[in-house]
């Protein structure tokens, strides 16, 4: 059994939840549980309060002409089954199809939880940064929308304050999504990703832009963007080198030591870029 004692709350409304977070400095928000619960079991977390977000109704996926909004509590299984995600955000659908853990994890783990955990060597931060996601954070006094570039601040650290809860992830989408590709390198079926490459054509038809995001390569996602213009597959290696030049500090952990991620990132980037640039347009 989990060693350290905590109080457990399962509020029914966002108002109650944010009031609890405001009153309690050492609260942990419980999403699907796939990160927080093992950390509690291992004695790595010692919260005063565990706030279960399961009754807050944050699991909806909604699509409008301009955005697909993913409730923070939407599971990978729900995302995988979502027609809106499949047709409007194919890059996210591709990422979700590659999440490790099997159905026993997909049925409970959430994209919102993964974003808030902000493990550099995970799928969500890179993919969501490539998609120009915005994160809706609520507290007792209101809510704010934080762009991905400001949300992922450091390894395992986001812009979410302790008194805030992530309620939704807003993904701007075009009427017809451009080509995209999600690639990841991992060394075992059950491994966390070593490096991910998310590539897509974004922006309006008048000014399409090629965007690449490398996840896992650096402490926070590395985004590079170019006007699409007449770029073709033959430009992939040059653009990959350009993108990897933006990796200042390399991320290292127990999965990959110094030098490894930097060396494989350029190959992953080039493959993703080439795949998107090869798509007829």
């Amino acid at each position: 059994m989990i060693r350290s004692r905590y109080r457990f709350a399962r509020p029914a409304t966002l108002e109650e939840a944010t009031a609890l977070l405001a009153a309690e400095g050492g609260a942990k928000v419980l999403g699907g549980g796939s990160v927080l619960v093992p950390a509690l079991s291992a004695g790595l977390e010692d919260p005063g309060l565990v706030l279960d977000s399961g009754r807050l109704g944050l699991n909806r996926i909604e699509a409008t002409d301009r955005a697909v909004t993913i409730g923070a509590g939407a599971t990978y299984a729900a995302l995988g089954a979502s027609e809106a995600v499949r047709t409007r955000v194919p890059l996210l659908a591709a990422m979700v199809a590659e999440v490790t853990g099997g159905p026993g994890l997909w049925n409970l783990a959430t994209l919102g939880g993964a974003a808030c955990h902000a493990n550099p060597a995970s799928d969500a931060p890179g993919c969501l940064s490539a998609l120009d996601a915005q994160f809706r954070l609520a507290c007792a006094t209101g809510s704010r929308l934080v762009p991905a570039a400001d949300f992922f601040r450091a390894p395992f650290l986001t812009a979410r304050r302790p008194d805030e809860i992530l309620t939704a992830i807003v993904l701007p989408v075009a009427a017809r999504p451009g080509p995209s590709r999600y690639l990841k390198l991992k060394h075992a079926a059950s491994s966390w990703p070593i490096v991910t490459a998310s590539c897509l054509v974004a922006g309006g038809p008048g000014a399409p832009r090629l965007r690449l995001c490398l996840g896992g390569a650096a402490p926070v996602p590395v985004v590079a963007e170019w006007p699409l213009g007449s770029l073709g597959p033959e430009d992939a290696a040059r653009l990959a080198a350009d993108a990897c030049g933006r990796i200042e500090t390399e991320w290292t952990d127990e999965l990959a030591g110094p030098g490894y991620r930097r060396s494989v990132a350029v190959t992953m980037a080039a493959r993703a870029l080439r795949s998107v640039l090869e798509t007829p347009r």
């Binding site: 109080r7 549980g33 093992p38 099997g102 159905p103 994890l105 409970l108």
Partner: protein
């Protein structure tokens, strides 16, 4: 909003309504409160899938769930799942287990796969059980068992 420590749910159709320690995992509630030992405690990290149960019909790794989080939900364990006969026979016929520790999770996960995809390819079977680890490495037998169960159902 008061903090609660009362668990109200059903486990295999039986109502459960009692005070529990908020630190209890669902797998611990299933085994030690409800006394159902078919569900195993493996890694406590969400990797191995030995603790797989159904919550409202969907398989989950119950070491990743606090027991108090399943308020008003229906829990089904291997003891209470009534739709496994062909799968169980197929696991026996194909030697789909060695020590048996992972079998609970494998069978429940296979059942969810076959519910959603009655004729899975080998790649689909392997993807479905990718979150269930067999440390005896009996995967070929397990995959053969799932395929046999699918064929048995197709003939039925």
């Amino acid at each position: 909003m008061s903090c609660t420590s009362r668990l109200r749910c059903t486990i295999n159709g039986v109502a459960c309504d009692r005070e529990i320690d908020p630190r209890l995992l669902l797998v611990e509630a299933v085994r030690d409160v409800a006394g159902l030992k078919g569900t195993r405690v493996g890694c406590l990290t969400g990797d191995c899938g030995a603790c797989t149960v159904r919550i409202d019909g969907a398989v989950v790794k119950s070491c990743l769930v606090l027991a108090l989080s399943v308020e008003d939900r229906a829990i089904t364990t291997i003891e209470g799942a009534g739709d496994l006969t062909e799968i169980q026979h197929a696991f026996v016929a194909e030697n789909g287990f060695q020590c048996g520790f992972c079998t609970t999770g494998m069978v429940l996960t296979a059942a969810e796969l076959l519910r959603d995809n009655p004729r899975p390819s080998e790649a689909e079977i392997r993807r479905a059980i990718s979150g269930n680890l067999c440390r005896c490495t009996g995967y070929d037998g397990i995959v053969a068992a799932v395929r046999r169960a699918a064929e048995a159902r197709a003939r039925a």
